[in-house]
Amino acid sequence: MMMNNTLKNLSNITAGTIVEGKWHKNRYVIVKELGYGANGIVYLAQYLNQYVALKLSHNGMSITSEVNVLKSFAKVQGSTLGPSLVDVDDWIRPSGKVSFYAMEYIKGPDFLTFIQQKGSVWIEVLVLQLLSDLHLLHINGWTFGDLKPENLIVTGPPSKIRCIDVGGTTIQGRAIKEFTEFYDRGYWGLGSRKADPAYDLFAVAMIMINTAYPKRFEKTSGGLNQLQMMIRQKSELQKFEQVIIHALKGKYQSAMEMRKALIDGNYAPAQPNTSKASKVQPQKQRSKPAVQQQRSQVQNQTGQSRQIIVKKKKKRHALETTLIVTTLSFLYFLYIYGQL
């Protein structure tokens, strides 16, 4: 990623600098830089004797957009995937206005570092946690979008997976706002970039592959063949092969279904009569209708808008046709009239 010029102005804020909000007058003392993304830079800061993460950007609207997502995350009952929002404000500097928001500081190693330190037995645990959180997000009508190991932090103990960058979170049925190629099903030629639960599950599968290839790998032929080959070359991925392949193909309707397949170890999308684990069954039955309802809602919506467009086009065509027919008949009438 290249830093553009606007980001450079924000990347040299020294420790001890005080960021004071224009509207709410809260004062934050900068401690150190935590990282930067496409739309801004994140600092660790101290506010009222506690640590917060401060995201600064010259692009006020991208800040607003992320704040919107964090606010709707807060409405998702029981989900702790994203950080909680503390404050939104503007900071007036001599060089111009900087928009920022303060959020909960999530501390810990990122996903891949954690796996490297603690061993691959943790892959399954963390993926299961992630799928539960994603499920809650999905039944509330959202898709996470930019799911990748760098954005996943493991806090604890007890170890719990959290997400620190919500910039890609998109309403289901719309075009994914932000993504990273390696984890994007469109890039691999395995589906569209329309936000749906399966989009996130594809990314989860890629993250699982990523654990065996920490440096990732280049796309060569692309498609399922290349990915399948990469999975087969690593023995640690073999026990997940079926689940990963199913997720890559978009066969799982919901995160719960993928979660269940991982737990059961039967790895196929659950068929009503083939599932063995009765403990998990009721949970799944409860959750599935909601998802299906939402899916059909989304489908209806897109169906409708398509219909409207078609109607509009038809109208235009009808107009053209009548215009041409009337003109021709008028000319013909003139011709006949002239003949008489």
């Binding site: 609207m61 919107n68 719309r174 075009a175 469109g186 569209s192 897109t302 235009r316 053209e320």
Partner: protein, 245 residues
């Protein structure tokens, strides 16, 4: 809210223009006609020279668009990001205008308290999803671009994948410069799908000069032709909005 069709030119180049009129002036002209000009500079291991960099930034600046210089392998991601960013920018301009009419004065979204901005952003998001979009892609095929062309093709196809995930309609057109006989050559006329590009692109030959200015002018007139043809029959003119930012 009426936004009409968003019109963008996406210029993909690797350096300085060296023939014909000033591309920065043509780009300013495009902005006046409600067409945004975005520029992506493609680098290799070597860094792009200062003069080229300045030209890239200035074309986008006077065209009311976004510019970014990247290595060839980051092209796909950048192309879609730049296009998105420029769309949001233009839509924000439309929303700001609307706000000024309601609130009076020179208030913009940025002047609202942070809590109120959220609702405005939701409107911008929704417009970005549904608005009709026309993108004319203008590819530099001067000799130094030769081995970057496969990556450029990938990036263009990837862009159509991103944009076609929206519910709004898209129209794409692809021009290359220099062309076989003229300064610029039309590779693909306005179409909602770009898949046919794959076969055409592999037959491309690269040439020596870089007539960026004339190529931009030709691109402008392509928007005009499209408009005038349709507006003869259906009164579509209102749909096209003129001033953007």
């Amino acid at each position: 809210m009426k936004t009409g069709t968003l019109k963008q030119i996406l210029l993909i180049t690797d350096g300085c223009s060296n023939q014909g009129e000033d591309p920065i002036a043509v780009s300013a002209l495009a902005k006046e006609q409600g067409i945004t000009v975005n520029v992506i500079g493609v680098m290799e291991q070597d860094v792009i020279d200062d003069q080229g960099l300045r030209e890239i930034e200035n074309i986008a600046l006077s065209g009311g668009g976004v510019s970014q210089v990247v290595y060839a392998q980051q092209l796909s991601q950048t192309v879609q990001m730049v296009t998105r960013k420029a769309m949001t920018q233009t839509l924000q301009g439309v929303v700001n205008k609307e706000l000024q009419q309601i609130l009076g004065g020179s208030q913009t979204v940025e002047d609202l308290p942070p809590d109120k901005r959220g609702e405005v952003m939701e409107v911008v998001d929704e417009l970005g999803e549904k608005v009709e979009l026309e993108v004319l892609i203008l590819v530099d095929t001067s000799a130094s671009m030769k081995h970057k062309l496969p990556t450029v093709k990938e990036a263009i196809l990837d862009l159509s994948l991103s944009l076609n995930a929206r519910s709004g309609d898209n129209h794409f057109s692809v021009f290359v410069f220099p062309g076989k006989k003229n300064d610029v050559e039309k590779l693909l006329d306005w179409t909602p799908r770009l898949e046919s590009l794959t076969s055409i692109f592999s037959k491309l030959t690269t040439g020596g000069i870089t007539p960026t200015g004339p190529a931009l002018r030709e691109a402008l007139s392509s928007f005009k032709k499209k408009r005038s043809l349709r507006s003869l029959i259906s009164r579509d003119d209102e749909q096209y909005f003129e001033e953007s930012v």
